[in-house]
Amino acid sequence: MTPQSSFMVLAPIAPPREVELRRLLASMNDAPGRLNANNALLPFGEFDTLHMARFVILDDKTVDDVHIYGLSKPTYPLYLAFVGDLDGDADKFLEELARREPRGLRAIFSCCEGFTPDTHLAGWMKAHRRPAITSYVNWPGRTVRQVREEAALRDALEGYVQRNASALTGLSPREIHATLQRFANTEKSTGRLKLSAESSTPLGWWARNLVHLIGVPLLLLLASPLLIVIPVVFLIRLRRLEKTDPELCPRVAPSYSEELAILEDHDVTNQFTAMGSFKPGIVRRWTAIFALWIVDYGARHVFTHGRLARVRTIHFARWVMLDNKRRLVFLSNYDGSLESYMDDFINKVGFGLNLAFSNGVGYPRTNWLVLDGCKDERKFKEFLRRHQLPTQVWYKAYPGLTAVDLERNARIRRGLESSSMSDQELRDWVALL
């Protein structure tokens, strides 16, 4: 398989250049929320290993929230983040990007601190990468090429079935399967369809993944004597904090909601960027790190087949810590509208939501870190919307397709290529068409 990787190039914006940067980013869109994939600055569509990408100005409006702890407003730089999810190695991708599209990227990054006309573009981007503490990929190994080939396959089968509906009526699933196999083979031999074989897994990635799979539990085991003593102290403190940490979930200004909403629901998938500060103190910070670490482990080794626990609508997601682990930015790509995304989370994986976000300033009160919290639905929705940021530029390589679509298409392909399905499996396969 070809593993996916992601990058976040992060750099402070030079204050006098912010206006120009916003203008440049807006110029990449046909309209707010609607990217021109062939725009002159960075024609994303020409990079066929890129799944999703975005430029977002991390203009965190909630920096002052720490005032509820009596702290004064900290100053952070205003960052530009350039984020992408892709097949293969991220550094190599950034090099290719710099080689093929230096003009637009230079124009954009010239709005950042320290970027000069003689800056080495690829080197600068790589040096400004920020690692994610947690990342999620809907289906590790599924490449853009595979997505597109399988979508084309489904469309071709669909067309064939429509054209030959009467001939196919009454056929058994096995006969339908054989007929469609023949059709697909003809299409493949004439070059109208292409179904590339899976590439071999890079040895290094495979080894690293295995070490991570075993290493993390091993480390926890080795540290267990410590983990028995620390948690008791830790938990007592955490419970106290849970009962006293103030909430901050006021109604979001309608104008801000609108600024966000205008960017949404132009495709079946939406982008989401949110940012906030951690609650002060070492207990909250380390709880957050530990929680996000657990989520990362789950995402990497357990939830690798289209389901993040029960949620089937997320393509890619990641959490990145900034500013000495004092702030967190969360970025995701999800199917459906924000309301259903939030409902899905609250009702299906509320515990995970609480685990991942409850160490943020103002989060609705949790109980034992996983209970309550987001179950105060209205508060949680205001909290989330309040922390959300407008994403200036957003690209998705396969408009019109949801994560569930991708899974269906992959199942259709897998079944088509199989010659040893049971009757029940054949019935299930035919039902996918």
Binding site: V161, P173, R251, V430
Partner: protein, 499 residues
Amino acid sequence: MRSSEVDYNDIQGLVRFGHKQMPDASYALLRVRSVAAAQAWLRSAPVSSAVLMNPPPSTALQVAFTAAGLRTLGVATSVLAAFSPEFIAGMTEENRSRRLGDVGSNAPSQWEWGSPASEPHLVVMFFAASGRLDGFVQSSTGGIWNEAFEVVRWLDTVSLDEHEPFGFNDGISQPQIDWQQQRVAAGVQVDYSNIVALGEFLLGYRNEYAKYTDRPLVDADTTTAALLAAEDAPEKKDLGRNGTYLVMRDLRQDVRSFWQFVYRQTGADPAEAEKLAAAFVGRTRAGDPLVPIQKQAIPGIGSRPDQIRQNQFTFDQDPAGTSCPFGAHVRRANPRNADYPGRPTGLALLFATFGLGRNAFRDDLESSVRFHRILRRGREYGPALSPTDALAPAPPNDPGRGLRFICLNANISRQFEFLQNAWIMNTKFSGLTGEADPLLGNRAAIPGCTTTRDFTIQEDTELRRKVSGLPQFVTVRGGAYFFLPSLRALRYFARTGNA
């Protein structure tokens, strides 16, 4: 927090009754001409409460306001701002239109009423027993009515004997409101239930999350003395309590196009046509579900034989959609699921919590329905047209037919809008693609999708059947979000000296 008893005297009757025994109804969409006169009319209006009367009354009157209406009546900006954002922004806000499918011929710019240029301030709804409506309207709209209001539009209705214009028995499935507040809503629900927390349909009570939906709480003073205290903040007065949001959508149904399409698809075989139409709806025209009823009782559906026959079912027994298509209207509008698929208990519940142990393609795709129920109070308009009569070409001046859709809910975004967006209009509902609701779909193109005009009928051991090229059968002709206040809140709005 103790939940207090429900005061039916304070609730508008529409919430509890729907006024089925009054077949005649007409709705006046109004703009306020004179605030003082409007308030005077509202003070004297015989607005019906939810108290059960014996004998039942022969007329009923209900009143609801848009945000613009409340603003005009002088409700303070700070009070108005505490209503729900959807209500304040209104149904026609551009980003909302995209979510609701109000684009193309459904776009507010095409509407007969409700677009910003013709937004009503309030709706006055008149209900009456047969033959009594005209007299009732006349007696209620005398005096200062003309000084008070400018009529945007009168919406007439007809009673088609509990059938909607396409000819299907309608309004069969309604949630049962938990008036007694017996439900412990916050816990996990593994079985489908038709009993829904009171707070889903009335503000000021606990909802399915066992929380209070946001609504305006105001300071106690002489002007608010008559309002009830907020259960969750007793020092405040609850302007929302016993009120709710009323969503109105004026839907034109092209009955001829519907039956002509169905007959064309089925080679004009009446029996097959009935079957296809029933597959679109998910019920027969008589209202029977396409899936067999189950033995296990479902709380809140009632115990009469017809109620059991029509509502004692879920789709658990039809996981492949072969009895009732996944895309059928009733399956989209109410998937009849619970918090987890497959009723897990014990260890299985723990597994299910993490989404483990299930990997069938269509598993667990729909959100738990108890958070997305609505109370439907719509009525039809236009003369009845039987399927066979509908096959004839439309005569000149063919009268319009359709539904004055009305639903009540405490949280517009989580209830009506979610249902409309994630279930009805969603071309990706339940693992499908290329099809929205067969009745209500706007058939708008989606970039990257070859079609949105399909309807799929899943088959048991054969290839599914696909109906293609569905026209748009239903067009939105108007709509607005209203607040249906309690009678106390109504008196508060109607008192002089607001402004």
